[in-house]
C-alpha cells in the first residue's frame, strides 16, 4: 500500500488536472446532455431545451438501430480482439524464429499499418476488396474460388471491417508481445526442455501463461479501441449495407453531428462509456494471480 504523501499528490496533480479538463468535466457535461432533448431547435433557442430524464436511454433500449449497432460493435470486439491477440502472438513468435537480419524488415512491415492513417488504409482496402476488380477477389479467383461481394453483403461487410481492423491493429500487439517475450528467462525454457516439454508444451504452458498479463493488457486496449470502432466503417461502408456495419460510435456520430440530436447522441456516448468501465472493472478483478506483487 502506498502511504499518502503530499509530494506524491504534487506529482500526479498535472495528470489529474488534464484528466479533469479533458475527461471528467466533458463526461459530466455529456451525462447532463444525455438527460435533455438538446437538438437543433435548442441551439436556435435555449427555451426549446427540456430536461427529459432518462427518456433518451429508454428510447435507446427499444431502438432497432441501436441494438443492431451494439451487435455490430460486439461482433468486431468478440471476433476482432482474440484474432488480434492471436496474430500479435503468432507474429511476435514467428519473427523471433526467423534469421536476425530479416527481423527488422518483417517487424517494420507488420508494424506499418499501425502508424498509417486509418482513412488511407480504409481507402486502400476498399480497392483491395472491390467485388469485381479487387486484388482479394482476384486471388480467390486464382484459387478457383468464386468472387465475393465483400462490402455489399451484410455478413461479409462486417467480416471485412473486422479483417481491416485486425490487420491495422495487430502490429502494435506484436511489438508489445515481442518485448514481453524477451523478458521470459531462457532458463525456464531450458528447464522445461530437460523436463521433457516439447515445442507445443513450452508454448502453451510457459510462453502463453507468462505472456498472459501482457495479453490481458493488450486485450483491454484492443477492446477499448475496437469498442470505439468508427473510421473503418465510416470510410469503407458508411455503415451499410443495411446498417450492418454501423458501429455504436458511428451511430452516435450520425445522431450528433449529422442530425444534431445531441441528447440522443450523448445517451449513446454514456452507454459506450459505461460498458467500457464495466469491462475494465471485470478485467481488473480477473487478473491472473501470480503477478500480484
Amino acid at each position: 500500500m502506498m502511504r499518502k504523501r503530499p509530494s506524491g499528490a504534487l506529482f500526479v496533480l498535472p495528470a489529474l488536472v488534464l484528466l479533469a479538463v479533458f475527461v471528467f468535466i466533458p463526461l459530466i457535461g455529456v451525462f447532463g446532455l444525455s438527460l435533455t432533448d438538446f437538438d437543433v431547435y435548442s441551439v436556435a433557442n435555449p427555451a426549446n431545451l427540456h430536461v427529459i430524464g432518462a427518456a433518451n436511454y429508454w428510447h435507446l433500449l427499444r431502438d432497432r438501430q441501436a441494438w443492431q449497432a451494439l451487435e455490430t460493435t460486439l461482433v468486431v470486439v468478440v471476433v476482432g480482439v482474440p484474432a488480434t491477440l492471436l496474430l500479435s502472438l503468432i507474429s511476435a513468435l514467428m519473427i523471433e524464429s526467423i534469421a536476425e537480419r530479416w527481423r527488422g524488415l518483417f517487424r517494420t512491415a507488420l508494424f506499418v499499418p499501425v502508424v498509417c492513417s486509418t482513412v488511407a488504409i480504409a481507402i486502400s482496402w476498399r480497392y483491395l476488396l472491390n467485388t469485381r476488380f479487387g486484388l482479394v477477389n482476384h486471388l480467390l479467383g486464382l484459387l478457383g474460388l468464386r468472387a465475393v461481394d465483400w462490402l455489399g453483403s451484410p455478413h461479409l461487410a462486417i467480416l471485412a471491417i473486422t479483417i481491416v481492423v485486425v490487420w491495422k491493429g495487430f502490429g502494435y500487439g506484436m511489438i508489445i508481445v515481442s518485448a514481453a517475450r524477451k523478458e521470459i528467462p531462457d532458463e525456464l525454457y531450458d528447464a522445461a526442455r530437460i523436463e521433457g516439454a516439447g515445442v507445443p508444451h513450452r508454448l502453451l504452458r510457459i510462453t502463453v501463461p507468462m505472456l498472459a498479463p501482457t495479453l490481458g493488457l493488450l486485450a483491454l486496449l484492443d477492446v477499448s479501441g475496437y469498442w470505439q470502432l468508427f473510421a473503418e466503417p465510416y470510410v469503407l461502408t458508411q455503415g451499410g449495407p443495411l446498417g450492418s456495419t454501423t458501429s455504436l460510435l458511428l451511430l452516435m456520430y450520425e445522431r450528433g453531428f449529422r442530425w444534431w440530436r445531441w441528447g440522443a447522441a450523448s445517451a449513446i456516448a454514456m452507454a459506450l462509456t459505461a460498458v467500457m468501465w464495466l469491462f475494465a472493472w471485470v478485467q481488473r478483478h480477473t487478473r491472473a494471480g501470480w503477478r500480484g506483487d
Binding site: 528467462p185 532458463e187 525456464l188 531450458d190 528447464a191 522445461a192 526442455r193 530437460i194 523436463e195 521433457g196 516439454a197 516439447g198 508444451h201 504452458r205 510457459i206 501463461p209 507468462m210 498472459a212 491472473a288 494471480g289 501470480w290 503477478r291 506483487d293
Partner: protein, 360 residues
C-alpha cells in the same frame, strides 16, 4: 543411476571463441562430483552440454554407457537445478513439481502421490499451493531440487544451486544436499565457483580454468597436492603464499633450490615454534593481525613480499614487531616457474594421503 563420461569434449562458439578445450573426466555411478572454477571458466557451459541444451563441437559424452551426443535433453534422463531456480512463476509449487511428469503423460494419481512424497521429503507439504514468489529463498531452492528429484533421473546436474542464498542458509542446504545425495544415491554433478563448497561437498572435484581441466581428485588431494600453481592458489582460503627461496632464512636449505621453482606455503602450515630440525625458518615484521576468534590471520612483510599466516592467537607479538615462523619441509609445495606445474620434491614425506589420480 549411471556414470557420466566426458571424453575430449570441445566447445567452440559460432564466433570462434573456444570455451572448452579437450575436457575429459568421469563422474562415477552414484558419485557427487564437484566442478569448480572461477567465473568464465566454462563450467556452466559444460553442464549445458551434458544436459543437451547446447551441442558439443567435438568429443563424446556418455551417460550410463550410452553416447548422448545427438540425444535431445528430454531423452538424456538427466535433471537440472538452475542457479536462479528457474521455477515457473505462474505455477504453484505443486504444479512446478508436477510439470515434468505431466508433460510426459504420467497418470494423475501417480503424479499426485509422487509430488506429495517428494514434498514431504523436502518439508514442502505446507507450500504446495503457493506461488514461487511467496516462498523464501530456501523453499524455492528445495522446490527446484524437488522438481529435479521427482523424475528419478540417472544424473543430477546442479548449476550453482546455492549461490543465490545467504551464507547460513547456504551451509544448511549444503548439509541437506549431502544427506539427500546419500539417501538417493544418484550421480550428481555439482557446478560451483565456490572452492569451499566443492571441498566440503564433493567426493571428488574437477578444477576447471580457461576451458581446461586443471586437476581431478578428491578434495583432500586437491588441497594437499595441487597439480599446478593455479589450483594451489584457487583452492583453500586464505589462499596459499607463493615465495621464492630467498624468502627463507637459509635459502640454501630449501629443497632442490633451483632458481626455476616457486614455493607455496599454506597459511596454516606456519608455526611459531620449530617442530623439527629440518624445518625451514622465515622472519618478518607483523603488518596486521586479524582475529578470527580462536585463530588469527597474521600478515607480515618481508624483503621479498608479504606472507599470510594462520596461527593461534595466544602469545603473539604485537603489530610492528618481528616474528619468526617455521614450516615443515613436507608442507612446502614447489611449482615450475615456466609452466606452473607441480614439481615433486625428492625425498620428502607428504603429510596428506597419496594421490588417487594424476592430472593429465
Amino acid at each position: 543411476m549411471a556414470a557420466l563420461e566426458i571424453e575430449h569434449v570441445e566447445k567452440t562458439l559460432r564466433s570462434g571463441q573456444s570455451v572448452l578445450r579437450d575436457v575429459s573426466f568421469t563422474a562415477r555411478d552414484g558419485e557427487l562430483l564437484a566442478v569448480v572454477g572461477p567465473s568464465g571458466c566454462g563450467k556452466s557451459t559444460l553442464l549445458r552440454l551434458v544436459a543437451g541444451l547446447d551441442s558439443i563441437t567435438a568429443g563424446v559424452i556418455r551417460i550410463g554407457g550410452r553416447t548422448v551426443n545427438e540425444v535431445p535433453p528430454q531423452q538424456r534422463d538427466v535433471a537440472m537445478v538452475f542457479q536462479n531456480h528457474a521455477l515457473y512463476p505462474h505455477m504453484t509449487v505443486y504444479e512446478n513439481l508436477a510439470f515434468g511428469l505431466r508433460v510426459r503423460g504420467t497418470p494423475r494419481t501417480q503424479i499426485d502421490r509422487r509430488v506429495r512424497q517428494t514434498a514431504a521429503q523436502l518439508g514442502l507439504e505446507a507450500m504446495l499451493k503457493r506461488y514461487p514468489r511467496e516462498l523464501s529463498g530456501g523453499q524455492r531452492q528445495r522446490t527446484a531440487l524437488g522438481r529435479a528429484m521427482l523424475r528419478n533421473p540417472a544424473l543430477f546436474l546442479l548449476d550453482e544451486p546455492l549461490s543465490s542464498l545467504d551464507v547460513p542458509l547456504r551451509a544448511e542446504l549444503r548439509r541437506e544436499l549431502a544427506a539427500l545425495h546419500r539417501s538417493l544415491g544418484t550421480t550428481m554433478v555439482y557446478v560451483t565457483h565456490d572452492q569451499s563448497e566443492a571441498l566440503s561437498l564433493g567426493q571428488r572435484m574437477v578444477v576447471l580454468a580457461g576451458g581446461r581441466v586443471q586437476q581431478i581428485d578428491t578434495p583432500i588431494n586437491v588441497y594437499h597436492r595441487p597439480a599446478n600453481r593455479f589450483v594451489a592458489g584457487f583452492v583453500g582460503w586464505p589462499p596459499m603464499n607463493f615465495l621464492t627461496a630467498e624468502s627463507f632464512d637459509d635459502g640454501a636449505r630449501v629443497p632442490a633450490g633451483a632458481s626455476g621453482l616457486e614455493y607455496g606455503v599454506r597459511p596454516e602450515s606456519f608455526s611459531t615454534q620449530a617442530g623439527g630440525p629440518d624445518d625451514l625458518q622465515l622472519a618478518g615484521r607483523i603488518e596486521r593481525i586479524e582475529s578470527q576468534g580462536s585463530e588469527c590471520h597474521i600478515e607480515l612483510t618481508q624483503r621479498f613480499g608479504r606472507v599470510l599466516a594462520r596461527l593461534r592467537c595466544e602469545k603473539l607479538p604485537r603489530v610492528g614487531e618481528q616474528i619468526r615462523l617455521w614450516v615443515r619441509r613436507s608442507d612446502l609445495h614447489a611449482f615450475d616457474r615456466t609452466n606452473g606445474q607441480r614439481v615433486e620434491l625428492m625425498g620428502l614425506e607428504r603429510s596428506g594421503p597419496r594421490p588417487e589420480e594424476r592430472t593429465q
